[in-house]
């Protein structure tokens, strides 16, 4: 079973709907016990980085950290990906999970923010999440903060400079855009994650 983690921020129906369409057994849950038992974990997220503080209060953070420690595949989407880093300038007092190094930062002042719409990925062909995804594919973004390009970055996007669009290390995956809203390309990535 794939656990789609609900921590009270945003709307998880779209992610569930995409997983259902792919024929995957999944459940939206806010129960740390269910997260601990999950075969895979998806952490969606929209809105403010501060909302991830709820993960710490509810015991979900510990459940996720424990699962990741046991090698359970994990996919963070949007703010869910940003939470994988140490922290974000959006809410410096809210700790990220810190499984990836670095800090999420705001866009430079010379571009409109939020970054909303379809933009292109430039990525590594060796990525497991991007298997079958052509170079320069378009995906749907909506975010005001972005993750730095580091050694775990497997695809970047350019908007006021390059940032991490897809990160991947062992069984950890993160995407800044919304695969559940990125048409066939996004569904391909979700199917790749489900097939791990």
């Amino acid at each position: 079973m794939i656990a789609i983690v609900d921590y009270g921020a945003g709307n998880l129906v779209s992610v569930k709907k995409a997983m259902d369409w792919l024929g995957q057994e999944c459940a939206i849950t806010s129960d740390p016990g269910q997260v601990e038992k999950a075969a895979k974990i998806v952490l969606p997220g929209v809105g403010h980085f501060a909302s991830t503080a709820a993960l710490g209060r509810s015991g979900l953070r510990d459940a996720i950290a424990d699962a990741i420690g046991r090698g359970v595949p994990f996919l963070g989407i949007c703010v869910g990906m940003q939470w994988m880093y140490e922290r974000s300038q959006e809410s410096p007092q809210t700790p990220g999970l810190g499984v990836l190094n670095g800090e999420c930062e705001r866009f430079p002042a010379n571009v409109k923010s939020p970054h909303v719409g379809w933009n292109q990925l430039e990525g590594a062909p060796s990525s497991r999440l991007l298997r079958g995804v052509p170079q320069s594919s378009f995906v749907y973004f909506t975010h005001s903060f972005r993750a730095p390009v580091t050694e775990t970055t497997v695809a970047v996007c350019d908007y006021g400079g390059r940032f991490s669009a897809v990160v991947e290390r062992d069984h950890l995956f993160g995407v800044q855009f919304h695969p559940e809203k990125s048409g066939e390309i996004g569904l391909t990535m979700l199917a790749n994650f489900c097939a791990l």
Binding site: A9, G10, N11, V13, S14, K17, A18, W21, V46, G47, H48, K112, S113, P114, H115, V116, G117, W118, N119, Q120, F138, Y140, T142, H143, D158, Y159, H178, E180, K181, S182, G183, E184, G186, L187
Partner: protein, 255 residues
């Protein structure tokens, strides 16, 4: 490069897609779920479903329509019409919408924008503004209730306020151009787009590819929306996007 979005709008009444010319003379144009899928397959970057009857009636029908349309739609999906409260919005999100669009209710009680944004994120809140040029002036009046009542608010000022309250996007409809096919109101669009940092979706007046090019270039729009141009086969989306792209506007192609 971030592309300009071409958005297909479905105006829905009683579960069927209709499209009015200047908000009147409705014609039936089909099943919303079917049309949403067709538009997505032919390259629409986003689907907006506006329940034009919802200010008065038929909420249950709307939720059922949203559910059916959302089921096989994997691009952004916005739903508007008759959403008054955070609870109304929650019901529409549960039915599968990614964003809600609010208009009259936001003017009546602007705090509803903040309430929905705090719970679902600003990216999920589109404030729709129906604007009409005030004769002999250089300003645009905001209208509510499907264009029936003037709100006594300048459209540019209202857009800025909506942004500060937590709106994630502005859906700006020119009532003067709506359904005419003579082109978007680039002046109105630019006035709003240059006043806010959030994306502005231009609406009303699309008749051909050149109109989209103009509103992106001269109107500074981030996205442009059209309805009737797509429904009746005046212009297939695929051809339209290629035409817009060939004029140097970045569009998502191939999809």
């Amino acid at each position: 490069m971030l592309t300009k979005r071409i958005i297909a709008c479905l105006d829905v009444d009683g579960g069927r897609v209709v499209k009015g010319v200047q908000f009147e003379n409705l014609r039936d144009a089909g099943d919303p779920a079917e049309l949403a899928k067709v538009h997505s397959a032919s390259g629409a970057d986003e689907i907006v479903l506006l329940d034009i009857s919802a200010a008065h009636e038929r909420r249950a029908t709307l939720l059922d329509t949203v559910r059916r349309a959302a089921r096989e739609l994997f691009i952004p999906f916005t739903v508007g019409g008759g959403i008054r409260t955070r609870e109304d919005a929650a019901a529409v999100f549960s039915a599968g919408a990614d964003k809600i669009s609010i208009n009259s209710a936001a003017l009546a009680d602007p705090t509803v924008i903040t309430q929905i944004a705090e719970r679902f994120g600003s990216q999920a809140v589109v404030v729709a503004i129906d604007a009409k040029h005030s004769d002999g002036t250089s300003h645009w009046e905001t209208f509510t209730h499907g264009g029936r009542s003037p709100a006594g608010r300048d459209a540019v000022v209202w857009a800025r306020e909506a942004e500060s309250l937590g709106a994630g996007e502005i859906l700006l409809t020119s009532m003067d151009r709506d359904g005419t096919g003579v082109g978007f109101d680039c002046e109105l669009t630019r006035a709003v787009a240059d006043s806010v940092r959030i994306p502005v979706i231009a609406s009303g007046g699309a008749g051909g590819a050149q109109h989209f090019v103009e509103v992106f270039r001269e109107g500074h729009a981030d996205a442009a929306l059209a309805a009737s141009i797509f429904h009746y086969g005046f212009s297939r989306l695929v051809d339209l996007k290629q035409e817009i792209g060939s004029q140097g506007i970045p569009v998502r192609w191939p999809c």
